[in-house]
Subunit: 433 residues, 3 copies
């Protein structure tokens, strides 16, 4: 892989804020407020948005506002700062305007460039269009005496062409005629993508675009970039936002767009392991969390019931009844439960595997046991999982993310310590390094 | 994007009819009957099929039949006419035969070419195979004094190679050595694709091929072409055909293959907005349509029940019971309903947004309210949706399709007016233009 | 398609066994045991695994063990033998070590090469990395006087780059500077792929990676290779392994990795048609197999009930009740049942179609009839399916697989005859050829 310059190897939250709105007394108020975010409310990447979130007639004022606020508050801002400028694959006048805005924002005379980490380019087209944007970055860097490639370029994937470009980038990156190594984030933009693909849904909802998210994530993985999912417009639907993130994480897309500081908090916590371990039970429709009562995992829903006649057990799951002997019951329940390890558990297991590996053992069995209680009937369950080098490496992903956060976001140390405890935080920063 | 010649930017229905069958008294009877279709029964694209639907030994006769019928009735046919000829990526003799058929069909001496809009090429392989077909079109055009690129080329995607080619086309289109700008429809052919991929299902059903449909739609979008889904063989299963189309539309694939005039009618209406708005309720399994009784949306199924004790509400959804206060109930129900706007509603909202935009406002809230009745208990619901430029643009897709239909299919004006009313039709043709 | 050398056009099972483990008395014991597998327990492709399944410090000993065992037992082994060597797209020292192991394994002086069909290369990257591996094969062949391209190369797809390479291979295969025609199996490696994509799931399960499997299968199809799904670690979960294979088969991925002789047996049978036909009924949640009692298909579950009042039928499906007249009931039930043909049925239908085709008929209707019994109420059902050339060709896939097995695995003839009967086996080997 060609050498990349960017410090962050994980980005959880991509927070956009308007830079200028019509009718505002103080157009800079909103970005000033964004620049003051700290801790879990502060995003990994803050994007003063001079495109969609800003009134078309106010974009020059938007640039001035970014310069003001970033020059003043940029040094203290705990995340990276990447303004989104205007761009369009089909409109040369928009691209030229984007160039002029970049030149102005990066001008050392304007005092903000030291705190700017890069720019976000929306509405990119195919790979040749990405090269045009990259060339403008190079011109800006050269004009202002910055190192070539020092400004990161992030792109919004919101057209079929751009989705295809994520699969072609490896053929182009590293060539002498470009600096595409500056690429940083691949951000899905599902609203405009839906328009570009001319998709229709009955109620006007966004399609789920599974393949787009897969392809974006794969393209990011294959090119050392970071994949970010698009906007989740219903900002009151916290549960839906969380489910979307869980789904994204199973695709390798660990970051997401945030529209509010509340969404930033959710996005920052989501890919981090939970503070407490958790047993789940499949009730025939979905996985439900079991209550922990003194080490007993208690199910108190209606879909699963269990009865112990003296001769056998009667297990009902969502309308299906089965009569089972004791060992059959245990097997059946083992197939229905799942164990979600806490950060503490993950670190424990990794340390245990590391010790085993040092003493020459390549695979060890990790046991997880609990007592499950349904309708007052208690059953002891114990699962074993083989850990080998591959399991260890896969478990490393959330831990590496934690370590990346810990290194780059000292403003979140208190929150992490409060959630996990100092001891777990310390061990999690050490393990696997 | 390179300049394209084709008038239609949307195609809803792709109707194939045999051109010659063994044992027929009059082999031309079936295509003559197809050429007489009008109004909603007439497809956007009619494909006299000289490949699979025609007996292998009768294909020269099929060409003669196409020439007869198109020369006689082509001028009056309200849709475009694109015969499917024979072709195979692995068989040069088939490709040569296809060339000879194209030369004959496009010969001005035979009187049909003025009514032919292009040809459909089945069984294409990778991008080099597409270029071979394109070259034959160019030779045919040159031989018969037609403008280069004037005959449209549509391809059936029924091999892995062809699916991959949809992602490579942008690298080739526009080169001096081809006329690939003639490309028009990308049609999935799932029966042969299944064979080519060697897929097996227990009962011999076709797999759903989600990724193929996504990739076809994306390739069409990235190259200014139009994506069409394949045959739906169970012609009596109207409900299944509709569901397939709804699914396709969420992928940006707005057209579908039709095997009968009945399927053509369904395909022509499907991507157009409904004439009446509709509230849907998620009953825990699926979304059901609510009955409109004097402005009240009434649920009369068995899976959801609602009871108003004096202290609280008891809501049961598919076996799960919840006791809720009034405002909790409203929140819960808001999460369960969805609103499907009518054509009238869509045009209303777009006009309202246009007025707001003209007066300098970039985003407005659109409210939708109804009273929901379950088991006699009535609850007032009101949802708000933010409309910005992106929402407006996305809403434009079905309206643009309507406008394309209105422009190119005067034979359907009466049907449109009958469904939507003259007033709505007029406003829908004006909005957004 | 460029000429390929490999005999097998279908591979059902890809069985890996360790070649050397620490602390073993006899490191060669396990591969010796693998080399003794016969019949349904013997895989189509046996992979003595000198990578992940072998201790890192023991890989030279692993090579020695492979040489010993294959030289001694290779001639009698009924499947192909493809050792997995070490390789990594990012580590030149690993690639060099892989080259040295290949040179040693293929050295005629070591007596094993006559029984080796190729090598498996893990952790490949993009297409240029595949070319490096191919070049090492060529060097090994040249060094040892083997024909160029005579050793097959299989790759483990376990990175985003490699997934993308499956879509680029057609641009490279056939060039004078490589021998990529030696490519044989594309094997998904979901454990390492998950790590490479940095995907996270709450309980540490593997994501389902639908798109990866589609893309691997498509790439194999487009390049004349064979797609194999990755490891299924829970070796006791036979039902889950079977479901995974059924899902894979609908994607055109007919082979799967096996970790035990028990999994090999499952993998070898899975893509072959069943010995008995089977009616399935959709009970509102899933398809359940109906019991055959003297030609009557009997449902004895709880989710569907049927009552014959004298006036009408009352059908209840998963809580939904409908009152139906006799013909409505028949229509409803026809929509709920599905027929899974046996090998005998498939061969019957193909023979019938072949006879019709010879007599000049292009399409015939195949009827399937049964009596369905629910709660003692009996209903006669009859479905018709049109068979044309495309249906015939699609039905050929499992039969071609059967014929490939029959030709290459004489050690399985007894098992096939026992399952299907001599008569069916004979007709199945003749049909369609």
């Amino acid at each position: 892989m060609t050498e990349r310059r960017h410090d962050r190897t994980f980005v959880r939250s991509f927070f956009t804020s308007p830079t200028a709105l019509e009718g505002e007394d103080d157009s800079a108020k909103m970005i000033r407020s964004a620049s003051g975010l700290r801790g879990m409310q502060a995003p990994d990447v803050w994007v003063p948005d001079n495109e969609d979130a800003t009134a078309p007639s106010m974009r020059d004022e938007g640039v001035a506002n970014i310069l003001d606020v970033v020059a003043e508050n940029g040094a203290e801002f705990p995340g990276e700062i990447h303004p989104r400028i205007v761009w369009h694959r089909d409109r040369p006048e928009t691209r030229h305007r984007g160039l002029k805005h970049m030149l102005e924002l990066a001008d050392p005379a304007n005092g903000a460039v030291d705190h700017l980490d890069g720019f976000v380019i929306p509405e990119v087209g195919d790979i040749d269009d990405w090269k045009k944007a990259d060339e403008f970055f190079t011109i800006v860097e050269n004009e202002h005496g910055l190192d070539e490639g020092s400004l990161a370029m992030s792109v919004i994937i919101e057209s079929g062409e751009a989705e295809l470009a994520t699969g072609k980038l490896r053929d182009e990156m590293g060539k002498d005629t470009n600096n595409l190594e500056r690429l940083f984030l691949f951000v899905d933009g599902e609203v405009d993508y839906t328009k570009d693909m001319r998709a229709i849904t009955p109620a006007g909802d966004l399609p789920s675009w599974d393949e787009l998210r897969h392809n974006t994530s794969r393209g990011a993985s294959a090119n050392g970039c970071i994949a970010i999912d698009g906007r989740y417009d219903d900002i009151r639907d916290v549960e839906g936002y969380r489910e979307r993130m869980t789904e994204n994480q199973s695709k390798g897309m660990l970051g997401i767009w945030s529209l509010t500081p509340g969404q930033v908090v959710e996005a920052n916590w989501s890919p981090l392991p939970p503070e407490k371990d958790q047993w789940l039970l499949d009730d025939g429709r979905e996985q439900v969390e079991l209550e922990d009562e003194d080490g007993v995992a208690v199910y108190d829903g209606d879909r699963v019931s269990l009865e112990d006649t003296d001769e056998e057990y009667v297990l009902r799951v969502d309308g299906d009844e089965r009569r089972l002997a004791s060992d059959e019951l245990t097997d059946e329940l083992l197939g229905m439960v799942e164990y979600v390890p806490s950060m503490d558990d993950i670190v424990d297991s990794m340390e245990e595997f590391e010790r085993a590996r040092e003493s020459g053992t390549g695979a060890i069995a990790m046991e997880r046991a609990t007592t499950l209680r349904i309708d007052g009937v208690e059953v002891d369950l114990s699962t074993e999982r083989m850990w080998d080098e591959a399991t260890y490496q896969a478990s490393m992903t959330p831990v590496s993310l934690f370590q990346d956060v810990y290194e780059h976001r000292p403003d979140q140390h208190d929150d992490l310590a409060e959630r996990y405890g100092e001891n777990v935080v310390e061990r999690a920063t050490d393990v696997g390094t």
